[in-house]
Symmetry: C2
Subunit: 320 residues, 2 copies
């Protein structure tokens, strides 16, 4: 890829945020735009909570709690303690410090600002230097259909700990949403050198982005190679319900299924050494494969994988 090209990354929460962190370490602030899933957003206790935007924000500036996988490191819980005492809804934990982000976001949005503007201001205040863009300023809400009816995503993910069997996934509001103006502005750029689909859950975290009308077409129209990092390692997800969900939806939890899921969009898929045997079958699907170590345990892992991802995209661009 061009040494001056722009990179667009599609990102959900934890797994995706790790690669976004690596990309942000490798690319100058003006060279990376992270388009973030907002399908997990929800109103809780009257506050607008954006779990994926927050995870990416905290991860990019090194404030995320790595062990827990969400929220801030070194957080305190006085608010939740008292909320429980008051009989409030306590299934979704909000740390004292984290809470400031939700209160301030909600206040600014009620005052008429868009999620994009608020995200830019608040992420910058916390030290994020790269562009962090909600996929849309309109509400798109992920629901999972279970035997007990449709559940909003956080109810399924947090309250029910991903236990209900999922029959289908839907994105309420997607049909009438559009990409945020900042995301649409990306589509007009002539210098995008790569689109990176971060290793987030394809069905729950990346699909809401791609379901936003015009977004998939906008990405395809960039003419840049699209490469994804598989969230599966040896048929399992490193974190989260990807493999369980694929099984419930009747999809074989393999990198082949991931490639097929992104069919028509994807040029290359980066898979783990544990899945090296699927490399040839991926090429048969028309998707270039890069085999490497995809588990990111350290900052160095994240940076290395980001470099490999960008080099892979550059190689795909060169052979076009």
């Amino acid at each position: 890829m061009s040494a001056r090209g722009h990179v667009v990354a599609l990102c959900g929460g934890v797994g995706g945020a790790k690669l976004a962190f690596g990309l942000a370490r490798v690319l100058e602030p003006g060279r990376l735009s992270i388009v973030c899933n907002t399908g997990d957003d929800f109103e809780h206790l009257g506050l607008h909570v954006s779990p994926d935007i927050d995870t990416v924000t905290y991860t990019l500036v090194g404030l995320a709690d790595a062990g827990r996988g969400w929220g801030l490191a070194g957080e305190s819980w006085s608010f939740m303690d008292q909320l429980k005492r008051l009989g409030g809804e306590a299934w979704f934990n909000l740390g004292d410090r984290d809470l400031a982000l939700h209160v301030e976001r909600t206040r600014r949005m009620r005052a008429g600002e868009t999620l994009t503007t608020v995200t830019a201001a608040l992420s910058r205040a916390l030290g994020v230097r790269h562009h962090l863009l909600p996929m849309s300023d309109q509400p798109v809400r992920t629901y999972v259909r279970t035997a007990d009816g449709a559940l909003p995503f956080q109810h399924y993910f947090v309250r029910e700990r991903c236990e209900p069997k999922v029959e289908a996934v839907s994105f309420e509001g997607a049909a009438s949403a559009r990409p945020s103006p900042a995301v649409e502005a990306l589509f007009a750029r002539r210098d995008v050198a790569a689109v990176v689909v971060c290793p987030s859950n394809p069905y729950l975290s990346v699909d809401p982005i791609l379901a936003t009308p015009g977004l998939r077409e906008g990405l395809a129209g960039l003419g840049a190679p699209v490469v994804a990092v598989s969230p599966l390692v040896g048929g399992r997800a490193i974190k989260g319900p990807t493999a369980k969900l694929m099984g419930e939806l009747g999809i074989d939890p393999s990198t082949i299924s991931i490639a097929r899921h992104y069919r028509g969009l994807l040029d290359g898929l980066i898979i783990d050494r544990a899945d090296a045997a699927q490399s040839e079958a991926l090429e048969d699907e028309g998707v270039a494969a890069l085999v490497t170590e995809t588990v990111m345990l350290s900052d160095d892992d994240r940076i290395r994988l980001a470099r490999e991802t960008l080099a892979f995209a550059a190689k795909l661009a060169a052979v076009r």
Copy 2:
């Protein structure tokens, strides 16, 4: 007073809350209703904050920070730290634990509950056993007029630290407000033995209560003696801007002025030993005076003053 009579107390914040604490220690839960000022209520960071209700709540259950005069003892400030970092409005401090009360109150009110219902539920959850009643479920908002224009009460009181010279006090919304149904129900009682005006600021904390249409008449219609505890000691307020404000409004900061302010409502005024010399002049105003120690430094002080207040009211009832 009757050993079974009900007591209605009118109360603002800190000073008033101390006597309310004493009354709650002396009277069984079913025998005391505290009608609380909501003129200080305001929307802050999108949250409904009720400073006087909260101070009374925390004081009644022994959780109030005595030194600071507001909020909870042993509070933590992670939320405020982070809010400042995010560039949010930081002039009004909200502790991490305190915040739960505002978030839960706001959530329940947005869901359609009245301030009365929410106050009952949340104060009970924190251990309050007596009836704590907002004066009204409609918004009444205290404004002070200054040379720089009208200031909402908390802006004057907290942000400007009571520094601007006050030209007038007004209660926006009072004309169209009415006492809460729970307060109106008090007016129908036949067993009210005393009305106690707690030592809160008459102009800023008690007047909004009395400005609520029908409330003054309702109290008068009870036929019970009305006794107040003067918030002034030797021409000064123990805490807060009462004396400064009286001076700015051209009122002599004396217990006589307090008695005149409550003219037509008040039967007796309890004054401090420091003001004993004004006792006779008060009688000339048609108000019975009781001289005692009104500064409440300990729980014992509060309980003693509560007992003296109730005995004084009983004496006034007997001579009617």
